[in-house]
Symmetry: C2
Subunit: 217 residues, 2 copies
């Protein structure tokens, strides 16, 4: 997507950190575990952490049918989601140049309540398998009453952007000779070994848990 | 804070996961590296990942003076911030009961542009030391021009809540005997060994880097 084809609200202020290509944006969306979803309720901004999954230019969200975001929305309401992968604390020789290394993606769009039973089930499968690849066929089939208790919302992407900083500190050259340490403290997020709940038959952790550990490694 | 003293928008829907005591909320705010800040711009919801620091019932945010959130706000605009600490993927025997373990805190309030030079410097010190404890006195003093290029926004907290899930899967009892693995895959976030930028005098990583690794361990 060309930056200048985007509405102003979707353009980044710092062009050197911004990316607008789908590959970069989708990679960030597909690699993160949680999205921070923003919407407006009664004139106030709301930000809710949610599981999600991307399918083409749609992001699926779900919640109990009574949650604010599901119950109170109208189709076409503006909605946004930001996902952030933190990669490091950037310590510079001046307070001013302290920063973070990260990859973040923001999508802007409108809501659509998903009502088709087939799309609902597909969305729930995608959200589950975003966290645990291939999990859907490892578990018991969904009951109708469960499907009815779950609201699925589609965020139809209208504009998207990514912001990346992956670099050492950007100190002023005249500070380089100061006897002050500067560098990056890496932030590492990983999945630990699966811990069974100790209930029922003794079954080993299935492929989905191994695939998740690989995916988010 | 008593739940019923809060405005409806700040009350959680699922009472068993909600907490309203300041100790729980502040602990989450003080332990996270990044906040997702929500505001409204031109009628649209915006969510921006930001560094921050809490001081009493104020959350300080900063950005270049030209950023949207600093340049376009008016004092008293509604603003919100959510911080989320992910702790595990919860794999159940049914798709329906899949979940995440996490601690999240949301603060709602209004903006105030910080203009007093003393409060600006104090806020910038707090934000830096939220990431790197005691860092401020390790670096060179701030220039006036740097202070002028940095906008500091206070989010004055009016209402806050936390949501926690820290438990094994909550399967239906009739699913317990199915030959399906269920449990938690822990999500672990940690700081790696500091990586110097290799410029200037050879100085070892200072106390702030060790303190950060302890704080976010």
């Amino acid at each position: 997507m060309n930056k200048h084809a985007l509405p102003p609200y979707a353009q980044a202020r710092q062009p050197r950190r911004a990316r607008y290509d789908e590959e970069t944006i989708n990679d960030i969306l597909d690699c993160s575990l949680v999205g921070h979803v923003g919407f407006i309720a009664d004139g106030r901004p709301m930000v809710v952490p949610m599981a999600y999954a991307r399918w083409g230019r749609t992001v699926y969200l779900h919640g109990a049918t009574k949650t604010r975001i599901v119950a109170l929305h109208s189709d076409g309401d503006p909605i946004t989601m930001t996902v952030t992968l933190l990669e490091g604390i950037v310590a510079a020789r001046s307070g001013f140049h302290h920063s973070m290394n990260y990859r973040a993606a923001t999508v802007h769009g409108v809501t659509r309540l998903v009502t088709d039973p087939g799309e609902v089930e597909q969305a729930l499968k995608l959200i589950t398998e975003h966290l645990l690849p291939l999990r859907w066929n490892e578990v018991r089939p969904m009951y109708d009453k469960e499907r009815k208790a779950t609201g699925v919302l589609a965020l139809e992407i209208e504009a998207a952007s990514a912001k990346l900083r992956q670099a050492p500190p950007a100190d002023d050259p005249e500070d380089h000779d100061l006897p002050i340490w500067a560098g990056v403290i890496p932030i590492v997020t990983s999945l630990g070994a699966p811990v069974g709940d100790g209930i029922g038959p003794d079954v080993p952790p299935p492929p989905s848990t191994h695939l998740a550990r690989k995916k988010f490694a």
